[in-house]
Symmetry: C2
Subunit: 196 residues, 2 copies
DNA sequence: TATGTTCTATGGTGATTGTCATAGAACGTC
DNA sequence: GACGTTCTATGACAATCACCATAGAACATA
């Protein structure tokens, strides 16, 4: 029954890219519509909730992208230490591909979020939780203390977010490599102490 | 010889607070001037560089605040593990005091920063480097491998930034406590292996 | 072909953005 | 008191902001 234009999806993808580069307030609707090629006349037809609804979709889109990255890394790694190294490599590749301009959209929305937009804050929280769970799964693939894996996963989410930040500031993947190695060592030590 | 009004300093302090709450683009000059009580007529007298110059000063101001926090923690802690716990406690207290609305200004500027404003990006990089050095100093107060301390310090900066982020998203100090404990354990283990 | 839904073009709304020019007030110094 | 500097009040600038109303085009179904 629906006609389904691709304008909505194009806008979301473009918005996700721009938001993670300039933030929510730094990105105007005009710029999004122009770069996406989406017609400006139908914006509020596709997004009755306006810019905030678009941002919500953009967060979900960006979150899903990271989720698949984490899931793939877990799938490809047998041992916890190798898993962490794969994660770091993936993030390094990701930030380098944008010439160190595109940071984590969830992070920037978390920092910019106002109490006036609780939906966005909630979406960010959900993303972090989802990432933590995926990483905990990857850490405990070979068994081991699940509770400890979840605590480690939370630290990994935080440390990788921070590493991404430092990499952007320095315009180099070096911080990610250094921190990734440090994390891999720690995780390997901790998870080795009790296997299944 | 100069008359020296306090309008400039007031604007900087207010701007620093608002920037870390809403970001650079999310904070208007009007709001800064209104909340600081600084006269709007003299803004470009005090800040010929406009909003960007104000932002630069705000970053320096915020960075110095964190620097003194880190230095104080180093001063108060004898052992690396306790030092990390003190850091985490300080950050947790800090974010809680603002009801989880005021994040790290350096982080948000790093994420929002455009290639069009290299001065801001450079200031953020300098802040991270300064923090890393202070933390490395705190870790190696009792001797130990300095190079390793610096790598650990870089990871600590990243992880604490990430922990701050998760705490904001969750509106709770819990992530900081969990991550802080995990970090303290790791640091204590690593730095114990070779003391002076 | 007729009908109803989905999508888009056009144009404009009031509000706010950062920036600035001009003039005068407040002050220290001679 | 006169002079020169430092600071501020006022008011305006063009540009952009998010948002929306109206009307018509494009399409699917009947």
């Amino acid at each position: 029954m629906p006609r389904k234009s691709d304008a909505r999806q194009r806008a979301i993808l473009t918005a996700a890219r721009l938001f993670q580069r300039q933030g929510y307030f730094g990105t105007g609707l005009a710029q999004i519509l122009e770069q996406s090629g989406a017609p400006k006349g139908s914006f509020y037809h596709h997004f009755p909730g306006g810019k905030e609804e678009l941002a919500l979709e953009a967060i979900h889109e960006a979150s899903r992208g990271l989720e698949s990255l984490f899931a793939a890394a877990a799938e490809a790694s047998e041992e916890p230490g190798a898993f962490v190294r794969t994660l770091a490599r993936g993030i390094a590749y990701w930030i380098e591909a944008s010439d160190f301009t595109d940071g984590c959209p969830v992070a920037i929305f978390t920092l910019e979020s106002t109490p006036a937009a609780p939906a966005l804050q909630e979406a960010c929280r959900e993303s972090f939780v989802a990432w933590q769970r995926l990483i905990a799964d990857g850490l405990s693939r070979n068994g081991g203390d699940r509770a400890r894996a979840e605590r480690l996963a939370e630290m990994l989410v935080a440390a990788l977010e921070g590493a991404l930040l430092l990499a952007m500031a320095e315009a180099s993947t070096r911080p990610i490599e250094v921190i990734g190695e440090e994390l891999a060592e720690h995780v390997a030590t901790v998870m080795r102490s009790r296997g299944s």
